[in-house]
Amino acid sequence: MLITISGKSYGISVRSVKMQKANARWYKLDNAAKIYPVVYSKTNSGTFIVAANLYEPVIPKLLQDAINKLLPRFPMFRVKLKKGLFWYYLNYNYKPFIIKPATDDFCGHIRNNNDYLFEVLYRNNTITLHIFHSLTDGTGAITFLKSIVYKYLNLKGYQLTPDNLIITEQSVPTGAELEDSYLKYYNKSNRKTEKERLAFQIKGEPLNFGGTGAILGWLKTSQLHDLAKTNNATITAYLTAVIIYSIYQTQIKGRTFIKESTRPVKVLVPVNLRIRMFSLTLRNFAGFIKVGMQLNRENITFEEILQTVKNQLTEQINTAAYSKYANSYVYFEKNFFLRICPLVLKNLIIKLAYHFIGNRLNTVQFSNLGVISFPESVQPYIKSIQCALGASKTSLLNCMACSYLDEFNITFSRFIAEKDIERECFRFLTTNNLNITIESNYMEQQNEIL
């Protein structure tokens, strides 16, 4: 390799350049990412899924080529998780990345994957990006998926243009993409200090043989938008209210005298902070809103719940409220005693705090990724986009939604056998004249290998 400086050429071996680059590639985990390796267990995979359904069957060889070409552009994904003395960190992964056919382990553990923290799976017409939450959040994963799909279609021979909506391999990874925005936008004075009440916890029996049950609902974005509009609500507010109402109908109504029912049903709604804080990071950068109400009365109507949800969301629609939780976590991370604590001890402290307090402050998580947009030249090849958040023993039910053109996807993932809440949600929507198609992985029905 020759480098020309002031008209003179200097020879540098390619190997040494590669070595220097590889040497520099390691990343500290961002604030949100730090919790996932600690709480990772047999019953908590800490993963989520974003997937693109194409109109044509996926050709694995082309998909592998697309990934191979794209990975150098996304260095923050080409990593493995390592233990330091005080914190985990992400280190450059030298091993090759291999795509796999999808298995029945929906949102399960990422194993036997050459230490990579994400998988690219294919089945029929679907390209799935299954990713560990320490790497990135929903928005970061969607950005990566868009690039994979774009490159794949490009390799298939279609004439496409990125239109500033896709990160292509021709561009260079910037510092802004790699930054820890939690630290950058940390505001010590705006953090959550008030004590929070424990939330109502969903009850249910674990699935017979473990795993995550998934029920996906497909509906028309325009229909859902109209329905939400007639109720003077946004789609997120409307669906949050539907989820709370379903929990009330199935888990609380008729049992309001039980002590547990006095606890508020709280829905954790992650918010993408990138837009509000002008961040370009591809790592985790989400704030949170909590919407909740006490439901220990009989005859609570949906309208009442929706009004409360709308009021609470309106109160919290400002950047300061969004970043309150994030700032309090960063404040905790910056604690001197926690920082000097060895990782083994730190893991114990964080694990205990998560299991006894952190995780019991929410009933359910509902994450709406919003509208996923692709360039016009790519749209004819993509039918829909879907997403799902893994459930765990400590977070029995999760919900994730996104929309692409007029296709709205809402996915419930559950750790329990009961499907009452999902059933109530979908029945409520169908009674409001929405045309819904559902899909399930029928996790309750497992076949024995004979």
Binding site: A24, G84, F86
Partner: protein, 222 residues
């Protein structure tokens, strides 16, 4: 598309019942194959069972040795030596063979455990000078040689071993400290160890200063 009359919902599946209410579906499936792969009942992993059998056998031997020693007690706790041997054998299998962690980390930890266990044997025998005079320096030299060899022959990911090499080299000065604190009398094994450590540290800082600095930053960042 199949349809559930109870939920009033379309179901895209090849199965015969509604995933929400278990009601039999009407209509014909138009999605072949199914959107999700067939669920296979998970098979119990034999590896975990092996680990449990190993732990059970080790604990059984230790308890048996303790009981025999206590029943036939003649003023000496002779069972400590076989117990330590069994314990170390378990460490070698569990950490050295079955664990998937970094080889240098395995060597470092197994050497440290061996030195500690030898010290324990020395205390039982009322003579542990041989451990810190001879066993410790030679084990540390052997350990640094093994990790150094890995760094030299490993073509990729060798940087990850530098931190362990530095750690073992720093530990290598311990025997010479023992000499100056009058804990040991024989000095030549400690000197050999200190010389080896000095050579390793010099080599590390001369040839691999950047990767070493990088490794230290990675592993010790707060």
């Amino acid at each position: 598309m199949k349809f559930c009359n109870i939920c009033k919902i379309n179901v895209n599946t090849t199965k015969s019942y509604c995933p929400l209410c278990n009601q039999t579906l009407k209509g014909e499936s138009d999605s072949l194959p199914d959107p999700f792969p067939e669920n296979i009942m998970p098979v119990r992993k034999i590896e975990n069972l092996n680990k449990k059998i190993l732990l059970f056998s080790m604990l059984f031997v230790i308890i048996s040795l303790l009981i025999v020693n206590l029943v036939l007690y003649n003023g000496v706790f002779w069972c400590i030596i076989p117990i330590i041997s069994v314990l170390y054998a378990w460490f070698i299998i569990r950490l050295g063979i079955l664990s998937k962690t970094n080889t240098a980390f395995k060597i470092l930890v197994l050497t440290t455990i061996l030195i500690l266990l030898l010290c324990l044997i020395g205390i039982v025998l009322n003579d542990f000078k041989w451990v810190i005079e001879y066993a410790t320096p030679f084990l540390l030299v052997a350990c640094s040689f093994a990790i150094g060899l890995i760094v030299l022959i490993k073509r990729i990911e060798w940087r990850e071993y530098l931190f362990y090499l530095l750690s073992i080299a720093i530990l290598g000065f311990a025997p010479i400290v023992f000499y100056y604190t009058k804990l040991i009398v024989v000095v030549w094994p400690a000197l050999i160890n200190a010389l080896c450590s000095a050579l390793i540290i010099l080599g590390l800082f001369l040839f691999w200063s950047k990767p070493l600095k990088n490794e230290i930053q990675k592993r010790l960042h707060m």
